[in-house]
Amino acid sequence: MASWIPLAGLIVLVALVIAQLAVPSSRAWVWKVAAGLGTLELAALLYFGLVWAPPEAFMSDVGRILYVHVPHVWACLVAFTINVACAIAYLMKKSWRTDALAEASAEIGVYFGAIGVLMGSIWARPTWGVWWDWDPRLISTTVMLLAYVGYLAFRSFTEDPERRAAWSAAAAILGYVSLPIVWFSVRWWNSLHQVQSTGSTVDKPMRAVLYWGNVTFLTFLLAFIIKRYELARARQSSALELPPVQAPKTEVAV
């Protein structure tokens, strides 16, 4: 795979995001395109990751877990970043849209993070020799996921939509503090988990497949977030007894 292919996929993905955000008429089909594209990209990833890519010099074929583990954790971090951006935006200007997007991104972030940690554990067994260890990276990631599980539980335990939105935004911002800790934990402590790979520490064909994996799962992230967002919006409108199809006039009057 030439190294420009993941970049092309990324550009298509960004175009889809822009269409979803800026062109209201495209909202009916963007998620379908993203889901279909994601499926195609996943099929290609299966080929590139499991067959085409070279085995790693020491991990041999086990190294192929790289192409799904890292993209999952990336998607998780991207989702949590969307979540905190929405939380800040909500506190600055109240809007049901950002609240719904915050809910959607938190749930999907927890999903990707949980799968990513599971994959990491599976990967750790043959390479490190243990399933799990008291390691700063592993602990901080798990704790971050727990913080967001708490956030989701809090959302489902609070009924008043307006209070829930404001309070969970505050909880989201406090919870996000753990994300830089996750990111830097491998640099601060001499951790068992290796530090982040950079372009120069991964051989070219493997890097291309890794980036392809990132694009694939970010595409799924987009499709999932759109559908989960619609669900959150529908729940809001039923809770607020707004007419269901009333797109522009849903700002909270404060």
Partner: protein, 85 residues
């Protein structure tokens, strides 16, 4: 059509497995493998096999995607019908 593509998609790992080149058996069991970094007298150091782990991890990813998509589909009744602005 939708289902056919789904079946095709799900069968890809199987196809990939079939298409996988046969493992380089003679080199893997060679008594003194020439180490890629040129270190002599290597006791071990290279993982042999381990495809089960790869399948487990990738399978978790695929199952997760399908599972989350299904969970969104199950909860769809609360969402507006497709095509709504």
């Amino acid at each position: 059509m939708k289902w056919l593509s789904l079946v095709l998609f799900l069968s890809l790992p199987v196809l990939a497995d079939i298409a996988k080149p046969p493992p380089p058996a003679p080199a893997a069991v060679a008594p003194e493998p020439q180490h890629p970094q040129g270190i002599e007298k290597v006791p071990m150091g290279v993982i042999e096999g381990g495809w089960a782990y790869v399948y487990a991890a990738w399978g978790a990813g695929l199952l997760g995607l399908v599972g989350y998509a299904v969970s969104l589909y199950v909860r769809r009744s609360e969402a507006p019908p497709p095509g709504a602005p």
